[in-house]
Amino acid sequence: MSNNFNPAPGLPDPLSMEALQSLAQEQLSLWSRLGYVGLLLLAAMATTVVAALWITEPDLPLRTQAAFLVMTAIGLSWMAFAWWVLGRRHVMLARHGVVAGRMAVIFTALFLIGAMVAVYISVNPAAFAALWTGIVMLVVAVGLLLRANRRFAQLTERREALERELGAKM
């Protein structure tokens, strides 16, 4: 490691190995990613419920419709924010993708079960709207989990091939 670093007196050297490793841990933290995945899922489910009620309830007063519109917009904004963070700031590595995929499948499956119970208890349009949305979200979550597993397997296979090839060259 180079000796060209001269930290200011009394302050931690921002470029020391320890500082960079700490930065790496912070940037690559699984928990921060799962937090944003959870935010995305909860925002999606809440937005789904609010939008389903808004669309299916007849003869709502104007101010109630306005309130539903605002809540739907807030939910969509949180979804967009979480999506942006996961795409730009806390990008998923392969291991993260598998864990996040499993989390998404579990959450959406629970949501779907809740929607099925709601349909069973009170056969109303809002419950059916939530049910169909739950099915779509579960299908998407399963697709994302399968894709994450596939990527993880491909990278693992490539790592093993490279290790064999490098071992053979030594």
């Binding site: 180079s2 921002p14 470029l15 490793q21 790496a24 990008v91 490279l162 490098l166």
Partner: protein
């Protein structure tokens, strides 16, 4: 043959490190930092000319590396990718973009073919002392090609210019370096 084997082994090692990082192995990121922090720091310090600016650049470079490595498709291009990020970060700090005209009288393909091994050894040995005096573009291309040992193709990717431009800049940079050395009474 030996050099191409070494180059091939280096490319495989780079790719393995990238694959391990993309899998999410914490130790791989430690190795990435250990291996590349020194060269990136040297590059930033050489380009920025000041330690405080170099620190800002290097810290930003690593942030971009951690965020972007999941999307690196060809791990063999790791070093070109890293120095490309370093260069973009440096340019963002500078906020100045300029280009110099190509030297159309010189045959670009002869530029690097004319060098003897003795020429190369002498130039590398004295280069570190003289680089700071050169203009930024010439300093950068010499640093990437000789000190960071990137290939012409990799330098072309980092600088985002055609390979002919890289060769012309190398030729001009070597000419400037020679003039600097001759002005100090050093025989080259």
């Amino acid at each position: 043959m030996i050099q191409s084997d070494t180059t091939e082994a280096r490319a495989l090692e780079d790719e393995l490190l990238v694959v391990r990082c993309q899998l999410g192995e914490a130790r791989a990121f430690d190795q990435l930092i250990q291996r590349w922090h020194g060269p990136i720091w040297e590059y930033a310090q050489r380009q920025a000319g000041r330690d405080d600016a170099a620190r800002d650049i290097v810290q930003e470079v690593w942030l971009r590396v951690f965020r972007g490595i999941a999307g690196l498709r060809d791990g063999r291009k790791l070093r070109a990718w890293l120095f490309g990020i370093a260069r973009h970060t440096w340019m963002d700090h500078l906020r100045v973009r300029y280009a110099l005209p190509m030297d159309h009288e010189t045959d670009p393909d002869q530029i690097t073919a004319d060098q003897t091994p003795e020429d190369l050894r002498y130039e590398i040995a004295t280069m570190r002392c003289q680089l700071a005096r050169l203009p930024p573009i010439e300093r950068e291309v010499l640093s990437l090609f000789y000190l960071q040992e990137l290939s012409l193709n990799e330098v072309s990717q980092v600088l985002e210019v055609p390979m002919g431009t890289v060769k012309s800049r190398l030729f001009r940079a070597r000419q400037l370096l020679r003039r600097e050395l001759e002005s100090e009474g050093v025989n080259v």
